[in-house]
């Protein structure tokens, strides 16, 4: 139902609306957008210090696994359901999605970083967009009925700025990939050309994973214990560059 509504919405967009939507996609996926992504390595820093991930090939395999086993099947599903619920102005459903995804993230550092990033995204959107659903969700966050976790906040932002579910999923997955590869670059694991090569090579994985955005909330899962453990170990290391 909501997919049909969204398709109709997309078909009836004017050229100007489509261009604004495209610009919104560029704005939200740009690393210049202030969501704090550059502070996250998603456990890569631990794996690098432990010499478990040492080169571009291993890095690419790790990011692909993370997209397939965590971000695509959990964050993307939450994102798609948030956009559906936002299209239906259903704040209670959005809160349920928020709480479900928060409960699914096993590692404290990862949960907290996603929440901080999401809340700042909301605050930034609030600076230039007035929207009753945004107000309701921000109120739910401030009264601790919701957390503001990043994929749900991105879903609200996408709804407000006229970004389709599929494009929103691409934003989420692309931003995550750039954050991961950017961390590798700053750790000195790869150079700038290798970084772009990996981003390019990740496109088929991103495209496939983005299809999860149409799945129902009940289909959400994640399972990548090796990375969970690395992320938990990151919480305990003293000398570190990244918050995750």
């Amino acid at each position: 139902m909501s997919q049909r509504r969204e398709s109709k919405f997309t078909r009836t967009k004017t050229k100007s609306q489509r261009e604004e939507s495209l610009l919104s996609i560029m704005q939200l996926s740009d690393s210049f957008f202030p969501a704090g992504m550059y502070t996250m390595s998603n456990g890569l820093e631990t794996l690098f210090y432990q010499n478990k991930i040492k080169n571009a090939k291993q890095l690419q395999a790790l990011v692909e696994s993370c997209i397939r086993m965590q971000i695509g099947v959990a964050d993307c599903v939450a994102l798609g359901n948030t956009i559906d619920a936002a299209n239906a102005s259903n704040i209670e459903s959005i809160i349920e999605i928020d709480q479900t995804l928060y409960a699914m993230k096993l590692v404290k550092e990862i949960r907290e970083a996603s929440v901080r990033s999401g809340v700042q995204l909301l605050n930034c959107i609030y600076a230039f967009a007035k929207n009753s659903l945004l107000n309701k969700y921000r109120r739910a966050v401030s009264t601790e009925r919701a957390t503001g976790i990043y994929p749900v906040s991105l879903g609200i932002a996408s709804n407000i700025t006229g970004i389709s579910k599929h494009s929103a999923a691409l934003i989420l997955l692309y931003s995550f990939s750039v954050s991961f590869v950017g961390a590798a670059l700053r750790l000195g694991m790869i150079d700038h050309k290798e970084g772009q090569k990996i981003i390019h090579a990740l496109k088929p994985t991103i495209a496939t994973a983005s299809k999860n955005v149409t799945k129902p909330l009940q289909a959400m899962w994640q399972f990548f214990p090796a990375l969970d453990i690395a992320q938990m170990m990151h919480e305990r290391i003293e000398n570190k560059m990244f918050v995750t």
Partner: protein, 223 residues
């Protein structure tokens, strides 16, 4: 979201210029006047500065609760964390503001960076930039946004000037030339020399001479 804004003091400067030691000198003076600070310490590669301040200011001296000295990793981008994308710092500030209405100010220490460092006005209300004489007496005249635009420029480690061939008169002349009427001060954060003057600027320009919250509450109760 919706919490009361607590005044925020941003402290930036190059690596090793004395940012942490400045905080270690300021906090006892602030607490002696009744002000209650929290500290966020951005660090490029560790939480060492936060750990040092916890050991000194919390555990040893009992001046700041341990959970109100917060270390923050910045992904290797210290200036991004306080200017282009200060979202992680603002998130922590918001968390403090929502839970600790009793605080009088939040001190935000930048990771060590270069002379173009500035704080986003969305993050800091008052910006101190600190350099030291060991970088040479050319430092002030090189300018850079940190040196020229900060609210207060501090030149630290003045006791070392004679040993490194830095002329303080040259630094004073150049600081005045690049900053116009904006203030600057010589300090020695190891001995505390000049720190009382820094306190006057903070109390006047950031805290607007308002009494500490706990004092004003007591005053209201007694009235």
């Amino acid at each position: 979201m919706g919490s009361r804004h607590i005044p925020r003091l941003g402290i930036g400067g190059p690596v090793g210029s004395g940012k942490t030691m400045l905080i270690e000198q300021l906090v006892p003076r602030l607490v002696a006047k009744g002000y209650r600070p929290a500290i966020i310490s951005n660090d490029v590669i560790s939480k060492e500065d936060a750990a040092r301040m916890k050991a000194g200011l919390s555990i040893e001296k009992g001046l700041v609760p341990e959970d109100l000295i917060i270390g923050l990793a910045t992904g290797g981008c210290p200036h991004t964390a306080i200017r282009e994308d200060p979202s992680m710092n603002i998130a922590v500030v918001n968390e403090i503001e929502s839970k600790h209405d009793e605080l009088d100010l939040i001190v935000i220490e930048s990771g060590g960076d270069n002379i173009t460092t500035t704080f986003s006005p969305a993050l800091a209300d008052y910006f101190i930039y600190i350099i030291d004489v060991a970088g040479g007496d050319k430092y002030p005249r090189k300018g850079g946004l940190g040196i020229t635009s900060c609210d207060l420029l501090l030149i630290n480690k003045i006791d070392l000037a004679q040993h490194v061939g830095a002329n303080l008169k040259v630094m004073e002349r150049d600081a005045k030339a690049v900053r116009g009427k904006k203030p600057f001060a010589f300090v020695n954060c190891r001995t505390g020399e000049g720190i009382d003057d820094v306190m006057k600027y903070i109390v006047h320009d950031l805290l607007f001479e308002l009494p500490p919250k706990n004092v004003s509450k007591k005053g209201r109760r007694n009235a």
